[in-house]
Amino acid sequence: MVQFNLLPDVKLNFIKTRRQKHTITTISFLMMAVCVGLLLLSFMVANVVQKQILKKADNDIKSRTQTLREVPDINKVLTVQSQLKTLPGLHDKKQVTSRVFGYLTQVTPSQISLNKLSLDYTVSTLSVTGTSPTIDIVRVYADTLKRTTFQIKGAEGSNKAFSEVVLSNFGKSDTTGTTFTLTMKFNEQLFNPTNEVTLVVPANAGASQSSIFEEKR
């Protein structure tokens, strides 16, 4: 069977174009509506909703700041609180220098008299200068210092109290006997206020004196 297209080409094109126009118009208006809608929504959020929230937050901040300013003596109260918080740390940091007298009494042989004691916490050194009847006692003293250990209450084991013990100066004369200077490094824990330290001194130290400095000067 033969079919004839009785519509002319131009008519077909016209129908096709009209359909196309309708589709494109619909899509274009939809697209514009979505885009303009988004624009309006963004505008409302940015310039109405968020501005309101910002205004409320600003008012809250202003009123609460004012309330805080009106608390009587607030800066003094805060200062006392701040100092109170800092003080224990500062007290824990300071060294207990007075322990050195007890330590030296325990390790210094009774025949030795000291005339100078220097304790430098910045480099952890201890230096003692004194006199002794013989050089042998100075040797015993140095040996005692080298072998002295200490224990911390509540902690296990013991550590060396002094290291790098050096006879840095030495002299002998008929009138003054033997003069010497011993320098050494000390373990910082010896003077730590939070530790309860017990010195463990070798048995042959010969330290039985109550005064470590020279009796007559």
Binding site: V71, K93, R217
Partner: protein, 223 residues
């Protein structure tokens, strides 16, 4: 008639095509304009959201601070109202140990740099134990005045040197006194020379002051 109809249809097709082009152009322009404007507004929204978030945080923090300030004030009143202070002195009295707890704390860690006051304190402390020979240090008040207040104060060292004379017990007691002072004194170098009856102590040490704490209101730039 037969020749006119195709021409009209063609004209209508051309017109329709022209309308489509115009419509698409307008739609494209409006859409692009809207999208660009939306993008700019979206950036503004994001930025404003960051600002809102920071401001709300600040408001919440301030609310907490207001509540804590009241509690702190109550605790402070209880602390300073105690009849016996933290070092065993009485609240109202004239001796060195007397005064309310706030005064004791500010004596232990002053809130301003005052070297002359430190020298006076040290003189009193040393004189109770041994003979004071000298107190030296640098009065750094002009430089330290820039640290008068702070939102986050830190302790600042005040170095000094003192020389004192006394017998063994006096010097030992003096050292113990510096250790047990309510004002923290950190020894740097301790040098003792002389004999049992006449020792000379040279002490290099630091004590501290900590600037007053204030409520630090500050502005922050949100990027």
């Amino acid at each position: 008639m037969s020749t006119k109809t195709p021409l009209t249809k063609r004209a209508m097709i051309d017109k329709a095509n022209a309308s489509i082009v115009l419509l698409v152009s307008v739609a494209a322009f409006v859409s692009v304009f809207s999208l660009v404007a939306t993008k700019t507004l979206f950036s503004q929204i994001q930025y404003q959201q960051r600002v809102i978030s920071k401001k709300q945080d600040a408001a919440r923090q301030l609310e907490k601070n207001v509540q804590n300030a009241e509690k702190l004030r109550t605790s402070y009143e209880a602390f300073t109202g105690a009849t016996t202070n933290v070092i065993g002195g009485i609240k109202v009295g004239d001796s060195a140990k007397d005064g309310d707890n706030a005064k004791i704390i500010l004596d232990a860690l002053p809130s301003n740099y005052d070297f002359p006051a430190l020298a006076t304190n040290l003189e009193t402390l040393v004189s109770q134990q041994a003979k004071l020979t000298s107190i030296t240090g640098i009065d750094d008040e002009v430089v330290q005045s820039s640290n008068a207040t702070s939102g986050t104060p830190q302790p600042i060292e005040m170095p000094f040197q003192l020389t004192a004379e006394g017998n063994y017990d006096q010097i030992k007691n003096l050292i113990i006194a510096t250790e047990s002072s309510i004002r923290p004194i950190q020894h740097s170098v301790v040098e003792i020379t002389g004999g049992q009856a006449n020792l000379v102590l040279n002490l290099t040490a630091n004590t501290y002051y900590q600037p007053a704490k204030t409520i630090d209101y500050k502005s922050e730039v949100v990027r």
